[in-house]
């Protein structure tokens, strides 16, 4: 039962109860109703209560917690939210902003870290940090009200008032593609209503729709498993469909999702992208290493030899607290550096292997500018807007959006075949306009080479740049699962069907 149905049930059940039951149930029902009502307000009507929490997206989970907080009715609290608009269609975003305003009007201060245009424009106060990322950032570029912001010429203001935009070249030029396409017929998984969908190849395709409309079911649960089974003998079963045509036109599929790149603190962007092997090789070839006969394993924090044995290369120690959660303390022997003293004595350009792991990718790009093998791999990380991550940042502290971009970068560093199909689920998560521009540049380059990119996205800056839009909906849950519109952004905007067309038309007219 989804939350909307449950809410209706709790509202209608009372007259059907006996006097005794009503007395008992009264308070409980009231409590259930308020909780559910807040969940409806933040746009989660399509979830069901037995949906496992691990299958929720980060945005959904955050909104659930938000709903619980609004329900608590505290005052004078400072709420800090990290990008609540992630995964929200424009329509749901409006609802979210309303609930944040409600929280504010209840006497609280709400501080939101956000990139969303509407959220910024609804704010009472804006703090813009920058001007660039990492070392070149960290300054207050602007603080004040929205009208004041719009009159300045910061990057953010530029995007907000339309002086800058997230695309290069002419927006209305759409690629023709290669005339071939993959056609999926009779998709019936979850809420899909037996729809036939055509994915034209050689284009940037954007699948849109409100939360819960069936976008992910179509792409991640149907199309992707079919193709993975075909190419990689994958075991994941696709959801129900009748037939598929056109698989022969592609020869590789790359799925870049938001699942974590690793759940172990020993995994990090450097190990995931494989660049760490190259860095270790570089250290091995240093004269100092040769004198000491160090092998690559010496510079790994995962095998004994070079790592700090006190903490086993973790950099910290876990202290078990019995009935309390474990506490992590930095290892007192290596002081969190993960290596023993001898290993750290080997330095490249004055930096030890631990110093390299502690570098941000931006710093590493400068540092390794003369080492092409390493540079190529970390340059793509910078290209997808991850310059601020540290090479050795444990993957447990990397967000879903960041994981996705790490994966994307890893794929980009490999050679593409020119007939590859890339699937990305909300790649703009956590990205500022400027980062989106960079990312779109990367995706466009892939398409230019003949590849196909399918993006599930809510961000209008991405949608308007697509060559082809597939809009699923019109509503979430049972009210969705139909093909509302497809075509170029102009065609979809002109169709007047569904929520996407309306917001897209506004966006296109702004340009």
């Amino acid at each position: 039962m989804d939350i909307q149905d449950l809410y209706d049930w709790t509202c209608n059940v009372e007259p059907r109860l006996s006097e005794r039951q009503r007395t008992i149930a009264n308070e409980i029902l009231k409590e259930i109703r308020t909780r559910l009502k807040f969940m409806l307000e933040v746009g989660l009507d399509y979830l069901s209560l037995n949906r496992p929490a691990e299958s929720l997206s980060g945005g959904e989970e955050q909104r659930i917690r938000l709903a619980t907080q609004i329900g608590s009715k505290l005052v004078n609290v400072l709420y800090i939210l990290d990008e609540p608009s992630i995964g929200l269609h424009q329509r749901d975003n409006v609802r979210l902003i309303e609930s944040l305003k409600e929280l504010r009007d209840g006497g609280n201060t709400v501080l939101v870290v956000e990139h969303d245009r509407d959220m910024m424009l609804s704010a009472d106060w804006v703090i813009d940090l920058g001007p660039r990322a990492g070392r070149k950032g960290g300054e207050v570029v602007f603080q004040g009200t929205v009208p004041e912001l719009l009159s300045t010429d910061t990057l953010t203001a530029g995007y907000l008032n339309g002086k800058l935009d997230t695309y290069e070249g002419v927006l209305s030029e759409r690629r023709e593609g290669n005339g071939k396409s993959i056609v999926l017929r009779g998709c019936r998984g979850n809420n899909l209503k037996g729809i036939d969908v055509e994915f034209p190849l050689g284009k940037l395709i954007c699948v849109t729709g409100v939360s819960g409309s069936g976008k992910s079911t179509l792409v991640n649960e149907t199309l992707q498993p079919i193709l993975s089974q075909r190419f990689y003998r994958s075991l994941k079963e696709p959801l129900a469909y009748d037939s598929i045509e056109g698989v022969e036109f592609i020869d590789k599929i790359v799925d870049v999702d938001q699942s974590p790149i690793g759940r172990s603190p020993r995994s990090n962007p450097a190990t995931y992208t494989g660049v760490f092997s190259d860095i270790r090789q570089l250290f091995v070839e240093l004269p100092e290493s040769k004198i000491r006969a160090y092998k690559p394993g010496r510079f790994s924090f995962n095998v004994s030899g070079g790592r700090c044995e006190a903490c086993g290369g973790n950099g910290y120690k876990t202290i078990e607290m019995n009935f309390l959660p474990d506490v992590m303390v930095p290892c007192e022997v290596c002081r969190g550096k993960r290596y023993n003293r001898e290993t750290l004595e080997v330095r490249y350009k004055g930096k030890s292997i631990a110093d390299v792991l502690d570098m941000t990718i931006n710093m590493a790009v400068e540092f390794f500018e003369n080492v092409p093998t390493i540079l190529n791999k970390i340059k793509v990380l910078q290209d997808v807007g991850l310059g601020y991550l540290k090479l050795g940042q444990p993957s447990t502290t990397i967000s879903g959006g960041e994981s996705q971009r790490v994966k994307l970068a890893t794929e980009l560093a490999k050679r593409d075949t020119g007939h590859t199909l890339y699937i990305l689920d909300e790649p703009t998560t956590g990205l500022h306009f400027e980062d989106i521009r960079v990312l779109m540049g990367v995706l466009n380059r892939l398409v230019e080479k003949g590849n196909t990119v399918i993006v599930i996205e809510h961000n209008l800056d991405v949608i308007k740049q697509a060559d082809w839009i597939i809009d699923i909906g019109p509503e979430g849950g049972r009210g969705g699962g139909m093909l509302v519109a497809q075509g170029t952004p102009e065609q979809v905007a002109a169709s007047g069907k569904g929520y996407t067309s309306r917001f897209l038309a506004e966006e296109l007219s702004r340009n």
């Binding site: 409980i28 409590e31 691990e54 917690r65 504010r104 070392r135 956590g430």
Partner: protein, 433 residues
């Protein structure tokens, strides 16, 4: 001090460059900037960290021991800070038992609602379950059985194996004369016992009487006693010889209980408590999947993908072609027993043999073990079967990711629905009008 604002002076966390920021109270403030420009450093590492630190400082030194010392954020001064609650996206909860319902706590309320205001229906007859007081039971009996001769019974054993010698002895010592064993009335004799390998129902006959308003006192005592012996449940059996129209059929049992009970089949439950509705509690979850909703099993078609192959050629996918290992020796011995060889295609074997190959057998088979580090050349051992072999590998926790994947490919995960279960009876469905 300006009380209408949060004022941050000299923030230097991470890449922040000694910045000063003001945030008006009761406002919706957006912090924006490029990825990595320091938004999170300001919002989380400075403002949230300081708020959290100040909160924790209010605890006693002893309590702070357990919380770990929060580092002071690198900032000169923050004034006007109110209590901080952070709503982050990062999910730390990767437990399959955590659901939307448990996170929002709506589930807890629903459990309470079903337990306290729900009505129970029998899973066998679909009838609404009822609950009586002793007084009501007596009135019902007098009403229904007026003038009839009845037995008042208290159930002691329900569908359990055993010879119950001690039970009969203690019944006899308590002074009861008759028992009803598996539907048959018998006299309790010294040294009486039952077939220990069969399931039995045993009730003790508390009283034989003719129901009449003037014996109400006697009936009241008997009912109280029966309730005590039967732990809240009692039965009435009317004498078989008399048939009165409109009355309960003679010889038919009726159940009465102080607990929730189905009047037709007599199954009874304890009063529902919220934990009965929890899929995380042994009192509530499905015993097979332990409330996870899915179980993992080994798929025979994946273990034997091509039945035209022989064992030697690799018919058993998890094991591959013949190698000189113990499990292949066992299989050789097993096949020899049925006059097959390693070269017999699976399709030519009888289903019984294939089943034994997969699921093992209890019989000990003679296995040649020459060459496997042993002095004896043959031993008798049990063969556990390929399925169990794969399962045991699957459940080993120290498998590498690749090994885990290998074992998982022979498994199917099947979903199954939660059924709720009380500790004393079979699966129960509690429902609500």
């Amino acid at each position: 001090m300006d009380k209408s604002k949060i004022i941050v002076t000299g923030a230097r966390s991470n890449n922040l460059k000694n910045i000063d920021v003001e945030i008006p109270h009761k406002s919706l403030t957006v912090v924006t900037g490029l990825s990595g420009s320091g938004k999170s450093s300001l919002a989380f590492d400075t403002i949230y960290a300081e708020g959290q630190r100040r909160y924790i400082e209010t605890f006693s030194a002893y309590a702070r021991n357990f919380l770990g010392n929060l580092e002071r954020p690198d900032v000169d001064r923050i004034t006007g800070l109110s209590p901080v609650i952070s709503i982050e996206q990062k999910t730390t909860n990767r437990n399959p038992r955590s659901t939307v319902g448990t996170v929002t706590e709506v589930y807890d309320y629903l459990r309470l609602l079903f337990a306290r205001a729900g009505e129970a229906y029998s899973y066998l007859s679909g009838q609404k379950m009822v609950k009586f007081t002793e007084e009501q039971i007596i009135n019902l009996i007098i009403n229904d059985y007026e003038g009839q001769k009845i037995y008042v019974l208290a159930p002691l054993v329900r569908n359990r194996k055993g010879h119950y010698k001690e039970l009969f002895e203690s019944i006899r010592r308590k002074g009861y004369i008759n028992v009803r064993v598996d539907g048959e009335l018998r006299e309790v004799k010294p040294g009486m016992k039952l077939d220990r390998y069969r399931n039995h129902d045993i009730e003790v006959v508390i009283e034989k009487l003719v129901v009449n308003e003037k014996y109400r006192h006697r009936l009241t005592e008997s009912v109280a006693l029966a309730m005590k012996q039967g732990e809240g449940i009692m039965m009435i059996l009317s004498m078989p010889e008399e048939t009165i129209p409109g009355r309960p059929e003679p010889g038919v049992l009726r159940h009465y209980s102080k607990r929730l009970m189905c009047p037709e089949t007599g199954i009874s439950y304890r009063d529902p408590a919220p934990h009965n509705f929890s899929f995380n509690s042994p009192q509530g979850f499905c015993p097979k999947c332990k409330g996870l909703g899915y179980i993992s099993a080994v798929d025979e078609d994946k273990v034997l993908p091509d039945r035209t192959l022989s064992v030697r050629k690799g018919a058993i996918a998890p094991l591959g072609p013949f190698k000189n290992t113990l499990i292949f020796r066992q299989i050789t011995a097993l096949l020899n027993k049925y006059d097959y060889t390693l070269d017999t295609p699976i399709a030519d074997m009888t289903n019984d043999v294939v089943d034994e190959l997969l699921n093992g057998s209890d019989d000990r088979i003679k296995v040649q073990i020459t060459g496997i580090n042993s002095e004896a050349d043959a031993v008798f051992m049990e063969y556990e079967g390929v399925v169990k072999y794969v399962r045991s590998l699957q459940q080993q926790t120290d498998l590498s990711a690749a090994e885990q994947k290998w074992a998982d490919q022979f498994a199917v995960t099947s979903w199954h629905r939660w059924i709720f279960r009380t500790s004393m009876t079979g699966p129960v469905t509690w429902s609500r009008v």
